[in-house]
């Protein structure tokens, strides 16, 4: 569904992505893990056009999108939950969800809104409150639902566990597992490698702008390097 070939990205003179190639097939959950500063978020931002790749190609549903303006991508079926959640803080919770559906022209937006509020009652309880008053975990939920409001084909999730308490991380990952069960295609960026690999089908490991490892989630969970660098002692055990 999504293919990146030798993508190079820069922030000014800084060469951040040094030839990234990866792919995501329909229905899969693929995760990109790596340490801080490895370039994971930049990868997502390059996919959605917030950063323009200088070289390489990005294709989504057989369509070259490396030059497509960001605001056209939602219409193509690509939704991005940014790092740090980035809810519109002074807009109400309901308005945030509506913004997620900005591009939709069918008449079922209200129905979807109601469905999300059904599944996550906090969204209904706080529907008219400014999104900024929600807790971190609630905002994460909101951000994910907001992205889902566009009924995307592919969901890009950037560090959903960041800054959340272990309880909230659990909740968020339950949601991700649900989405997977429903067949949503997801590209998941995470520092929390264990949680990510538990829910993913396949994974890539990134280090300083390059992909150094890839394989199925199980393969990676067992891999020496991965274990040492990302799953080592002292790492938060959410799932044990």
């Amino acid at each position: 569904m999504l293919t990146l070939k030798s993508v190079h990205s820069y922030y000014g003179h800084l060469h951040v992505l040094k030839g990234i190639s990866l792919h995501v097939r329909a229905g899969e959950v693929v995760t990109l893990i790596g340490a801080n500063g490895a370039g994971k978020t930049t990868t997502l931002r390059t996919i959605t056009g917030l950063v323009r790749p200088r070289q390489g190609s990005i294709s989504f549903l057989d369509r070259e999108i490396s030059r497509t303006p960001t605001d056209h991508l939602v219409g193509l079926g690509l939704a991005h939950v940014p790092e740090g959640r980035r809810v519109f803080s002074s807009l109400s919770v309901a308005a945030n969800l509506e913004m997620g559906a900005f591009c939709r022209t069918d008449g079922e937006v209200k129905r979807d809104l109601a469905a999300f509020q059904e599944r996550f009652p906090v969204l209904r309880e706080r529907a008219e409150q400014p999104a900024g008053t929600l807790s971190g975990g609630e905002q994460q939920l909101l951000a994910i639902c907001r992205a889902l409001m566009s009924r995307p084909q592919l969901l890009l999730l950037d560090e959903p566990s960041m800054g959340l308490s272990p309880l909230n991380i659990r909740v968020v990952y339950e949601v991700i597992a649900e989405l997977k069960a429903r067949g949503t295609t997801i590209l998941l960026i995470e520092q929390n490698a264990r949680a990510a690999l538990k829910v993913a089908d396949r994974g890539y490991v990134m280090e300083t702008g390059r992909i150094i490892l890839d394989g199925t989630a199980d393969e990676l969970l067992d891999h020496q390097e991965v274990k040492r660098a990302y799953l080592g002692k002292g790492y938060q055990e959410v799932w044990e």
């Binding site: 922030y11 000014g12 056009g49 917030l50 950063v51 323009r52 303006p69």
Partner: protein, 293 residues
């Protein structure tokens, strides 16, 4: 030298002092002041009033002008410590308008009609109503101004100022009292503008608030932008270009403001560093391409 050419040269010299002093503020605090003409006006009125009512000789009147303007410069400098960019620009504008209003409304300043019969200087027995003589006086003041600024820029203080401009936080950490330096800049710039005001008052011999309002402030700003913000040479050139050109194009006087306005926009889009801008500050003002689109 013809009277007319002398006049242009004198006015050019005055605007040069104004432009160069405004550039001090812009170049060394990185902030725009939209009320610079207020100091010009304060200097002019102070000089005129002390000469008329207390019979101050020119050097004393000019000195008073410089001091009064400088004091107000301190006053304007203080908000700069707390405000930045847009807000500061507007405050300086407000300052200019308030001074304008005060000059317009106080009895002692003669209201909208201003002051007349300002005595010409009496120095060394020369006749200052002769434009050539006044030109020499102006020239001396201009030379003094340029020399002063040049000394400042190349001195140890100048280096401290550059440090503040480029990396304020670092400078503070290094123990440089950035607040004091900023205020000094405003004071100096205001004082110089006050000097220009005094020269103006005793040259034209009548003054009214109209010459010292927002319009003049913006004209001076245009000169600085044209020449290059932060560039001393640029301000000199800018001042002359914008004084001489309009005089030579008297026939199209109506289009002057149109040209100034258009010039500002065009310069900023096409060459924001001005004609002579170079170096770090100009790069600050140069367009950085948006990193993604």
């Amino acid at each position: 030298m013809g009277d007319y050419l002398c006049h242009i040269a004198i006015m050019g010299g005055l605007y040069l002092i104004l432009a160069v002093s405004l550039n001090l503020i812009i170049g060394y605090t990185g902030q725009v002041s939209l009320g610079h003409a207020a100091f010009y006006g304060l200097g002019a009125y102070t000089s005129a009033l002390t000469a008329i009512h207390w019979h101050f000789p020119f050097p004393a009147a000019a000195g008073a002008a410089i001091i009064v303007a400088a004091l107000f410069g301190v006053g304007l400098g203080i908000p700069t410590l707390r405000l930045k960019d847009d807000y500061l620009a507007i405050v300086t504008l407000g300052f200019g308008v308030i001074i304008d209003l005060i000059l317009l409304n106080l009895e002692i300043t003669g209201g909208p009609d201003g002051l007349i019969h300002i005595p010409a200087p009496r120095l060394f027995g020369l006749n200052y109503r002769d434009k050539e003589v006044y030109l020499v006086l102006t020239f001396l003041c201009v030379a003094f101004t340029l020399a002063l600024i040049h000394r400042l820029v190349s001195s140890r203080y100048g280096r401290a100022l550059k440090a503040i401009r480029d990396h304020e936080l670092t400078a503070q950490v290094m123990g440089i009292n950035t607040a004091a330096y900023k205020i000094i800049i405003f004071t100096l710039a205001a004082g110089l503008a006050g000097l220009a005001g005094s020269l103006y008052a005793h040259y034209i011999t009548f003054i009214n608030p109209e010459s010292f309002g927002l319009h003049t402030s913006i004209l001076v700003l245009t000169m600085v932008v044209l020449g290059g913000m932060g560039s001393l040479l640029g301000s000199v050139i800018g001042a002359f270009v914008l004084t001489v050109l309009p005089e030579m194009l008297r026939t199209v006087a109506d289009y002057q403001d149109l040209a100034y306005g258009g010039l500002l926009i065009v310069m900023l889009i096409w060459r924001p560093q001005g004609l002579f801008g170079a170096g770090k500050l100009s790069r600050k003002f140069t367009l950085r391409g948006t990193k993604d689109k």
